[in-house]
Amino acid sequence: MTYRIIHYINQFYAGIGGEEKADITPEIREGVVGPGMALQAALRDEAEIVATVICGDSYFASNLEKASEEIIEMMKKYSPDAVVAGPAFNAGRYGTASGGICEAVSKQLGIPVVSAMYPENPGVDLYKRSCYIVETTDSAAGMRKAIPAMAALVLKLLKGEPVGSPSEEGYIERGIRKNKFYEKLAAERAVDMFTAKLHGRPFVTEYPMPVFDRVEPNPPVTDMKNAVIGLVTSGGICPGGNPDHIEASSASKFGEYDITGIKDLVCTEYCTAHGGYDATYADQDPDRVLPVDVLRDMEKEGVFKKLHNKFYSTVGNGTSVASSKRFGAEIARRMISDGVTAVILTST
């Protein structure tokens, strides 16, 4: 039999538009759209993409529950056997939407779901427990590798065939343990691993330790009247012309900008360098991302002692975790040495 598959993609891959169209509400079209063509080829005649759901990334990410409900209703009419979403690569909102729709479909329709993302996509940590997410590169250059892996995995799930380990099948580890039998006893395997380690030979642990990178919350500000407030943003606000050339995505740097005497971020002086959301509104009034005007008012009213005379800004669009950590640590070091006592960080 030919299985019926519904494919979920965003407005960009549907050819509707970029950030200026990221607010579009979901629609469903019969047959394949965009990357669905390659997916259909990889599925051969074993499954047919009967319909494609298209939704704007910002619409989905800002209306998770509503969007999921709307899309599930649309999907029901096509009685799908499985849903495939993406690949979303390193696009954060697309990954969130793909994972979100997979989770909702799996829970409400009880059918197999597969997505695909770059491991640092925030959609991975949010949804890897709910669905299979094939590992991809960070850009659409990895499409040719991602599509066959997604097709193979969804066909396996549809046929009820056993799914192998993450490294065998190419999906991201889900934190699920399965029992299996080995020829060798655990003690022997442990000694084998230990001797391999001693000899500097490669070995694979059977139980990788989860990494919980959590930071304890700091004590609250008890004396707001004497606080110095620092402003940081991942929304890309910078002086007009972006003097430090902060990249529109995958930023390699942050900027430090003096706002001594600036009471309001006006559109003739400031803008956003961010390439991951529709910049229209931030360019019209940068205070919509970095609230300097309101903080100046409050400073004058004596709510706190001082707004720090520098703000820090980078672009959070596709920026790696390693870079973000480096920026955060350096910004904190500079703010502390300048006497900042509390921080407001805004993200788009």
Binding site: E19, A22, S58, A61, S62, L64, G92, R93, T96, P122, D125, L126, D213, R214, V215, E216, P217, N218, P220, V221, T222, M224, I229, V232, S234, Y277, D278, A279, Y281, A282, Q284, D285, D287, R288, V289, L290, P291, D293, V294, D297, M298, V303, F304, T314, K325, F327, G328, A329, I331, A332, M335, I336, T341, A342, V343, I344, L345, T346, S347, T348
Partner: protein, 77 residues
């Protein structure tokens, strides 16, 4: 960045639109914002109303900074 600033010893509040991402990343004090392209504003309102919205969010952020928390907390009202 939020986490590294916290790790360095500064109390920090994350004002952001996609709260689930902030929770996954590990921010401790979170204030939900308006929308992705305008977290602290709303172009559909008058400039005065918009500034009022922004003022409310900043006040909420300052309140969050003055609140003792022991775990990740989303300040919704």
């Amino acid at each position: 960045m939020v986490k590294e600033i916290e790790r360095a010893g500064l109390p920090v509040v994350h004002v952001c639109t996609i709260v689930p991402i902030s929770l996954t990343v590990g921010a401790n004090r979170i204030v939900p914002a308006v929308a992705i392209p305008y977290p602290l504003g709303d172009p559909n309102r008058t400039p005065e109303e918009e500034k009022e919205i922004r003022r409310n969010l900043v006040e909420k952020a300052l309140k969050a900074l003055q609140t003792e928390v022991t775990e990740q907390t989303v300040f919704t009202d």
